[in-house]
């Protein structure tokens, strides 16, 4: 359930076109071409979703595909384990009866060879995108077809149980078991003992748990009857789904010798009840959150919606709303923290100011000025230099051609006694801004006043 946070992190990442890649060789729809033209190595995934002209969920789908195909890459730490390269509002198909479309969608994915050019059109897909899914990676100990299957299944975790198992709604117990055993052999974590699964580890576990849940519930006559009732109620035509209790299954080999007693019934009732309770609770929280949103109480709103998602993780509506709510909440949090920092600076409470800067940073990803202020303050007040280095480095990465950035990084290195690094940065700064006398002076000082001890530190 760290997911929400990880997705945030992913959303803040910046897609870019790898060096040497020539996207013009692809055949794209105009909408895709437009999206591609917006990828400049600066605009974050989150911002790309906001550019308009392309629906956010289509942006997601496209980016994910391009990522899988190596058309784009993510700047900075893209390989970080489970972080799905996927932003917050994981648009998931509403639990619609449009099972047909869903299946068609999944077939399209399964049949697509991993390296094929992205020819699928952007606009017409009616049923929105998949939830958080990792990118295909031939380097993993997991065959690509299986990776695709996992992505597909992860996206359909809320599908009716019999679809999870890939059996007809009226499958008898024997068919259920056969499907369950087959799927277990494919998806049980033991099959991948000590294997490199990378970002697929979590989806694999989740999918397997879902398979078990589906099998257990469908094998229990009481639970199954209830499931079938609710399916029938949800189906648009209102026609009941054929409910064949396994004891009544016709055919000589289908019927077991005698009807089985319900297996482990207590488990299911508990699970069902808990699920229902959680859903209701989620709904209440969500409504309260949206009311707060309307009243512009952003933080409260974000808290409510986040809780709603925690209770009902697969509700697409909540997740969709969450992006907006959270952006507002982030802005609000950042504003508050910056005010706090300024106040602390006025009072010369530097540690408090530094803390506030630090807390504000995640809410303002890519804010170079903030990064620099934080780093500078840390150097000036003897704060954590490791942290200061990280900030200064990030600022330099964001604006590599800015002399001030290199100068600041140089100052951080100097404070840490890493003289050689410091000299390198200051020289870079001077190259970018040859007329800067201050940098020149600092460089001179550095060469003159270096004690042997510091020198050693610099060598390391």
């Amino acid at each position: 359930m760290v997911l929400a946070r990880q997705r945030d992190a992913a959303a803040a990442r910046v897609p870019r076109i790898p060096e040497g890649a020539d996207p013009t060789t692809l055949s794209l729809t105009p909408a895709e071409g437009y999206l591609l033209s917006r990828i400049d190595g600066r605009t974050s995934w989150r911002d790309l979703r906001q550019i308009g002209g392309v629906r956010p969920e289509d942006v997601d789908r496209c980016l994910e595909r391009w990522l899988a195909e190596g058309v784009v890459e993510l700047a900075a730490g893209t390989d970080s384990g489970q972080a799905a390269p996927r932003p917050t509002a994981g648009a998931e198909p509403p639990r619609s009866p449009a099972a047909g479309t869903e299946r068609a969608e999944s077939e399209r994915i399964e049949n697509r060879p991993p390296a094929a050019p992205p020819t699928a059109p952007l606009a017409p897909a009616p049923a929105a995108a998949q939830p958080a899914s990792p990118a295909l990676d031939p380097g993993l100990d997991l065959p690509l077809p299986l990776q695709e299957k996992l992505i597909d299944l992860s996206a359909r975790l809320e599908a009716p149980y019999h679809e999870i198992l890939g059996v007809p709604a009226d499958a008898d117990r024997k068919a259920l078991k056969r499907a369950y055993f087959g799927l277990s052999r494919e998806f049980h974590p033991d099959r991948y003992f000590r294997k490199q699964l990378g970002p697929f580890q979590t989806p694999l576990e989740r999918v397997f748990r879902k398979i078990v849940e589906a099998y257990e519930l469908l094998s229990d006559p009481t639970a199954r009857a209830e499931i079938e009732r609710s399916l029938a109620a949800a189906s648009p035509q209102g026609e009941p789904v054929a409910a064949v209790p396994d004891s009544a299954a016709a055919g000589p080999e289908a019927a077991p010798a005698r009807p089985r007693a319900p297996r482990r019934p207590h488990v299911f009732t508990l699970a069902e009840r808990m699920r229902k309770e959680r859903k209701q609770r989620a709904k209440r929280l969500f409504e309260a959150g949206m009311a707060a949103f309307a009243a512009e109480r952003w933080l409260e709103a974000a808290g409510g919606v986040r809780l709603a998602i925690a209770f009902d993780p697969w509700n697409a509506v909540y997740k969709e709303q969450f992006a907006d709510v959270q952006r507002k909440a982030h802005e609000e949090s950042a504003r508050k923290l910056m005010r706090e920092a300024e106040n602390a600076l006025d009072l010369r409470d530097y540690p408090a100011a530094l803390r506030a800067f630090e807390e504000a940073l995640p809410y303002r990803p890519g804010d170079v000025a903030l990064l620099r202020r934080a780093a500078q303050l840390a150097v000036q007040t003897g704060g954590d230099l490791h942290q200061a280095k990280e900030w200064a480095l990030e600022a330099v990465e964001l604006e590599p051609n800015d002399a001030e950035g290199h100068r600041l990084l140089g100052q951080v290195y100097q404070a840490a006694g890493l003289t050689a690094n410091a000299r390198r940065e200051l020289e870079l700064a001077l190259q970018l801004d040859p007329g800067n006398v201050e940098v020149r002076a600092e460089l001179r000082e550095l060469s003159g006043g270096s004690s042997p001890l510091r020198w050693l530190g610099g060598k390391r």
Partner: protein
Amino acid sequence: MSRVIGIDLGTTNSCVAVVDNGQPVVIPNTGGYKTTPSMFALADDGKRLVGHLAKRQAITNASNTVYASKRLIGRRFESAEVRRASELCPYAITEGPNGDPRMLLGEKTFTCAEIAAIILREMKRVAQEYLGEAIREAVITVPAHFNDAQRQSTKDAGKIAGLEVLRIINEPTAAALAYGFGRKNAEETVLVYDLGGGTFDVSILEMGEGVLEVLATAGDTFLGGEDFDRLLVNHLIEQFEASEGIDLRAEPMALQRLKDAAEKAKCDLSGATQTEVNLPFIATGGDGPRHLSVIVTREILERLAADIVDRTMTTVGLCLSDAGLSPDQIDQVILVGGQSRMPLVQERVAEFFGKRPHKGVNPDEVVAIGAAIQAEALLDEDQNMLLLDVTPLSLGIGTYGGHSAKLIERNTTLPVRRAHVFTTTRDNQTAVKIRVLQGESDIAEENDLLGEFILSGIREARKGEPEVEVSFDIDTNGIVSVSARDLSTGREQSITVNATGTLSDDEIQRIIDENDLYEIQVKD
């Protein structure tokens, strides 16, 4: 890559196996025996003796010879089981700093995990000698009904023995794996009846296409062959007391001789209808030495043991009902464990199921073989066997009023994760205490307390407002872990459920360091 062994760490006997060229083989020890007594002794000269060597000197060195310590592992010193054991065994049991039972041999105390480690190390040595290569990894079996603390301690023992434990699997499940090996196309429902030296387990499994799915498991971790011995010992003591007026209970050496003789008689009676117990000079009366010499018949033994055997059949019935099956829906009954050789057991089982139990497996070796097969299945991609096991005990938390709320029911397929949201009961409460319980009772007290932890740093708010989501995980080893997250702040807390009675990491390291002195290196 070096090979992975399967070890059946039994109450009375241990056994090691490996899959060699696709064929599981049981590895004999240097004496040529395929099983090794799970015994450890500290000789007068401070020498450490394991297995047959320990067993041979047990009578003369009874108070420094440990047997059946598996009955104590992962239990608390205070528990009824430990108390019962300490009344009967000739070695001293003391309370350790974690409330765990420890064995006092000479001047040194040993934890149960340490004793288990010594036996595991011996099995490792047996395998290394036979295979001529260093062994670093193992699958170890435990009774299906072992709780979290018992599993954890067994895993610790593996670590101390210098083995990475790939997996802890259940003994009856291992037996079923061994049965299912080479029968991959059979679609059968099998019941494993495992009556060993110290524990009794029943498991029901469904097999098909190389998948073994455990439907239900039931058992008793304190019922086994040792109990049959104890009944017979008591019988002999009472007889002797009646005829000679001497109570043999006070004499550790006499007790040990009686125990050995009773076990031998018990085993003899599986083949013969009567046997003689002959123990000259068992005691000294006022007028000189006394001898014990009696005839024991199978009938007497069966009368003594009828209750225990009935108890096992009750457990079989319970397991069937958990699985939702009737006796005639079981295709095969597999008998495992030395004590299942008793004719009375076989009769009762045959009667109950209306068919003779399966004859094809060796009850002493099949568990180790299953463990080796599981190791192979995990590591070898072409090995198409897959085990779907369950948790034998329900997992719950203590709630207000001394009740237990179950979060994961017994017989749930592993691995499993369940999350639950907790809240505060007082205004501005910033910490909650969560007690993790394992067992079937609705009353908290009657279950095993796996551990308790305090969830702190909850934001101050009105009661009932904070939401803390606690996730309970049981992995494929049957080992429990818990994590918590404050839903409003997203803050995570990971919690180690340090079961009362298990060792801390520091302690394990200390023991490893100490025991390294005794490690015999095998050249690669």
